[in-house]
């Protein structure tokens, strides 16, 4: 095995922690430093819009590992420390210290995107960090109504959590349909229905013109002149990447090959939300902001860095889940590539349901509603880009009927 020398991992979230673990598991017994901007031990984000927000988990449960389990990794753990610059063989930290490395892994994730002219105000929220979550939770408990700007999964999950607490909830989405960008219109309509059935007002094609916050509430003015008021507001309009310190430009993240090696650098890797890996399946580079992509990439990159054999297959198949009103929505593949979408329901027109996404007659993605076992059966077909008749044979065999 090639000697990895001094390994520095920057970003102590899911991808950074998993990289450290995979490096140790694959035999790296040399120096290993984990640098994280947040003060917390590595923690998990999906519960921030689910179990922690609804109060069913104590916040401590988001910790990904106990202090003891971390100690076993023999890390030089630098929390509350931000990397601000990169030289050929050293990371520069916020306090000016230079951290020399033989190999570097960048795992700095993304931040919540802010709207232009978004006021910084106690009643205006974002959701990316544990602090964001606790602030939102306290805010919801003291409110009767919530405006959510942005119809993505984070907004949708917060809508569900807020409805469960009895708040009046309105989702405002600029696109013709919330979730449309990810799921395509037909399937997005299903999600909208799910929210409307639970009493959420969903305004699509609504462009935000002005956003104000004051002592007693928030006011949103839309391009068509209508005015919405509520006690507070969540801005959930996606994420932004800031990898400038590591040579990233624009909002594109760090361009990598299919093992996570950063283009143009020998000994620098990137994993997780910040990394735009080359996909052998599509031939393109893509940044995938999903939990399992972070863990699969951590494994592939750690092993590649150590010169160990890797099978990047699972890292190349996006997989995502979302929990809304006790309905589990799961997605595998790349719905945005599809030219045709078909929904198949359980006879009677109800969930469990699946949607299959085809491009030129081949399966590129599948989405399930309340049907993990069905998605599991479709996944190998997505991985193999199965032809339509094969997909049809499976949905028939599963007892589903076209919607």
């Amino acid at each position: 095995m090639a000697r990895a020398g001094r390994v520095v991992v920057v970003g102590a979230g899911l991808a950074g922690l998993r990289t450290a673990e995979e490096l140790r598991a694959a035999g790296h017994d040399g120096p290993l430093t984990l640098v994280g901007a947040e003060e917390h031990l590595p923690y998990d984000r999906p519960p921030l819009s689910k179990q922690v927000l609804t109060g069913s988990w104590e916040p401590e449960r988001v910790a990904l590992r106990s202090a003891d389990a971390l100690a076993e990794l023999s890390l030089d753990l630098r929390l509350g420390t931000r990397a601000t610059g990169l030289a050929d063989d050293a990371v520069v930290l916020g306090d000016g210290e230079r951290l020399p490395f033989d190999h570097l892994v960048v795992a700095t994730g993304v931040a919540a995107r802010r709207l232009a002219h978004q006021p910084r105000h106690e009643r205006v929220h974002e959701l990316r960090t544990l602090e964001d979550c606790l602030r939102l939770q306290a805010g919801l408990a003291a409110s009767r109504s919530l405006l959510i700007v942005g119809g993505g999964f984070v907004g949708a999950e917060v809508a569900a959590a807020a409805r469960a607490q009895g708040l009046d909830v309105t989702i405002v989405e600029a696109l013709p349909a919330p979730f449309g960008r990810v799921l395509g219109t037909a399937v997005a309509q299903r999600c909208v229905r799910l929210h409307r059935d639970h009493g959420v007002r969903v305004l699509a094609g609504a462009r935000v013109e002005e956003l104000r916050a004051g002592e007693d509430g928030v006011v949103l003015t839309l391009a068509d002149g209508s005015v919405l008021e509520a006690d507070r507001m969540l801005v959930a309009v996606g994420t932004s990447v800031d990898a400038g310190w590591a040579g990233g430009t624009g909002g594109a993240g760090l361009a990598c090959d299919d093992h996570g090696r950063v283009a143009g650098r020998d000994r620098v890797y990137a994993v997780g939300d910040v990394a735009a890996w080359h996909s052998p399946a599509t031939g393109d580079r893509e940044r995938v902001e999903h939990w399992t992509s972070a863990t699969e990439q951590a494994r592939v990159a750690a092993r590649a860095l150590l010169g160990r054999p890797v099978e990047p297959a699972a890292a190349d198949l996006p997989y995502f889940w979302s929990d809304q009103y006790r309905t589990k929505i799961q997605m595998v593949g790349r719905p945005h590539l599809a030219d045709t979408t078909r929904i198949h329901d359980t006879p009677g027109g109800a969930a469990p349901s699946v949607a299959v996404y085809l491009r030129r007659g081949r399966l590129v993605a599948a989405v399930s509603f309340a049907a993990p076992h069905l998605l599991a059966r479709l996944r190998p077909l997505v991985a193999g880009a199965a032809p339509e008749p094969e997909v049809r044979a499976l949905t028939d065999a599963l007892g589903l009927v076209p919607a």
Binding site: D44, Q51, W291, T292, E296, Y319, W321, P372, H373
Partner: protein, 64 residues
């Protein structure tokens, strides 16, 4: 090879079912059920992926 589950941790994410459908399923309460507690060697990659993909760290794989 033996699959171990700490059922108190399971949150019903079903990621394990997606990774290794021949080994895991969910019961009516959305808790994991191990259908094949001692899976064959051909399941190793799938089970390892299931262990990795469980956000609740409820699963472990033990070699005999």
């Amino acid at each position: 090879m033996r699959v171990q589950v700490e059922i108190g941790r399971c949150e019903g994410y079903a990621n394990c079912v997606v990774a290794a459908p021949d080994v895991f399923s969910l019961d009516d309460e959305y808790l994991v059920v191990v259908d094949a507690p001692t899976p064959g060697e051909e399941q190793r990659a799938a089970v390892e992926e299931a262990v990795r993909s469980c956000p609740a760290a409820a699963l472990a794989l033990q070699d005999d």
